[in-house]
Amino acid sequence: MNEGKLRLSLAQIGKDANPYSTSVVYTPTGAPINNVVRYTRDNAAGDPSLKPELTTAFEVGTDLSFFNNRLGLNFTWYKSNSKDLIMDVSTAPGTGQTSITLNAGEIQNKGVELTVSGKPIQSGDFTWESQINFSANRNKVVSVYKSLDYITGGSSFGYAGSGPSFLYRPGYSVGDIYGTSWKRYYGSKTPEPFRIDKSLPIIIGANGFPVRETAQKILGNSMPDWIGSWSNTLKYKNVSLSFMFDTQQGLEKWNQLDNFMAAFGIAKYTEDRDQMVVFPGVLEDGTPNTKSVFKGQGMGPDGVDYKDGYYRAYYRGVSENFVQDASWIRLRTIALSYSIPASLLKKTFMNNATISFTGNNLWLSTKYNGFDPEASDAMTGDLTSSSQAGFTYPPLRNYLFSINITF
């Protein structure tokens, strides 16, 4: 070991609100009619007793390096509590506002960060440098504003009541995606209030189609269990190759595009609309479902009118179908470069010349069926943007060929 450090830190950081977040105001609305300016109570209100938000963070860490600095290790454990979180809380119009700036509650984050860097090979003309980053964070909503059961951090649109909500609920996690689900058969078991047990059979109605649970329950969480990256640089004489893999694992996203595709019969899986099926599951009394039904629209081969059909009348209204595993691993970047030897440049005006070829976003592996689980069309800043994906262009895949010359 060359070096060993132990870090300990305790920090407290205050955060202020936006200006004028403490009052209820009246604002002009629309253009004047009959030369009279119309006034309305502004939909966004402040709280006269607003306090600064305070984050207290404690962290322990260690930095170690071994074998003549060829191996470095960096580890941190942290815990931070944000109290009196200042948030624009979305409120029901019945309150007279649609958003109120509040000290909305307390959130706790804990986690670890680990970095391992090293030079596994360093011999003559050949070197290999490598770095692995790993981090994992767990969060919990400790409490929310006064009498509230939960705070809505965001919501999204989905057809036929499938639009999910993203809630801060005490005892649960930030990033939980709440939505409608297929009703499960619990028998003598008691269901958890906000979770569904996906191992249980789905209840099939007397009409042969699965039954929808309209109370919104947790269908997934958009915060990853862990994040990792692995970057490498290999050098042989004047040639250098570097590449980096990135990954996020253990997260789900609301796939809004899939909801639209299912609603309009564009998704590939809706092509079974010419089939008769027996939906696997049980009837209300727990006995297995045996009724065969048509998945398409209109008159089925059995002479029954199925009207809008399974995908429009049932499937698209169940958020569970569109909250999907959005874990991914991707080759973020790869670059090959060649430095022209100084001896060849001696008689020219150049001091240095490098030719390089870079590719970004070349490979993605994910079970998510949309374009890219990282691409969100929602405005950044609230929970909606991090909880949904789709409906926008995925990040570009690009190739760069570049020549760098210094003189």
């Binding site: 009619i33 029901a92 119009p93």
Partner: protein
Amino acid sequence: MKRYLKLIYLMVIMAAVSGCEKYLDINANPNASTDPPIQGLLANVTNLTPYNVYYLGNLTSYYVQNLASPSVSGTADTYQQSDPSTAWGSIYNTLTDLYDMRKAALEQNLVAYAGVADILTAFNLSLASDAWGDLPYSEAFVGGANMAPKYDSQQGIYDTCLALIGRGIALLSQPAAVDGMDGNADYIHGGDVSAWVKTAYALKARLLNQVSKLPSYNASEVLAAVNNAYSSNSDDAQLDAFEVRNPWAQLARNNANLVLDVWLSKYFVDATNGTIYGVFDPRLPEITFPTDGGTYVGTPNGAGFQGVRNTDHVQCYLDVGKWYSSETSPLLMLTNAEIRFTEAEAALRGGQTQRAYDAYLAGIRAHMEKLGVAATAIDTYINNPAVAVGKDNLTLKLIMKEKYVATFLQPITWTDMRRFDFNYQGFGMPVNATLSTFIRRADYPSTETSRNGANVPAYERTDHLWWDK
């Protein structure tokens, strides 16, 4: 001297600049007011209330088959789950401003504003409760002080509405109320207090008549309210001044620009073109142009467009320039025509057949005159034996058949149809209906279910509201 002058100017400017400082409270938003200008609030609520009728009417008109979607299985046509956040949001925005307007009016002792606030609160609340039943009201509008207002019962809301009407009339009857409002800011009645009292009675008549299914129904109370309500079309509560144009005209324009909307339902067209009742209603040409074939054809609800190409004019819609959809058409809130039919219904239920018959004919005439139907065409229609049945042959069904046309596009039609269990001649379920029976109530909006979910009552769209049982 010039140099001194410059110095003096500079000192004056500096004094002015430093003088400002004490007026600048860093927590007060310089771009907004914390004191609502009461005329501004009145202007906003008298503008929004007729719009709220429009927002809800744009949903209920599909339920009652005034309109039909050109697409197959339209959401509203086929009773699918909908998210009426716009209508709900606008109604609660209005109710919030009314709450503040009443408070400000009482602080400043402006009884006319307080009276109008009561009447418009009753109007908006009853409008909303007819669609949704239970509503937040008694714990509502206080912002952060109660972020999860509980829902008042439907019947409680109804009683509140009647109490608000009574209080509003009492306030407007005070001598101080006369000329007590800025007429320019009152887009509905131009500051005319007696016109507001008539509107209050008209709403009272509507509400008292609405409980026709219940034993508490009292025909003579309805008629007593009618006596103090509208007596001519000039009394109508309506919006004439728009920022740009009548909102139905906007939808008609969109339709003309191929953003298809506001197509007439087959049921409405058949009820007026002679198909169902054997008499052609001269109001139909005031509402829409005939198709390329010269006939009037509607779209069956749920079935969508029936032609080959949707640029062919083979079905009727609200056309730009027609009565309900011209740029400057009034946006109706509560009308004399409706009150005449309310009078006819209550009189018939109360056994006053002559009064009922007179009111029935007066209601048809009032609506036709409103739409500018030629006098001869009005007489021809009213004298048709299918219409002029004589007082002894007048039935509730006949009254409701005519009221259905006279309250075109208005949410009250849905309330009426529920009271009569949709028992209108030729009226049936839409194609591809997602419910097994007629729709009886609207969905709560997602803004309530997601943000105040614990207080939102459980319901089905087939549940009957309390006055519909």
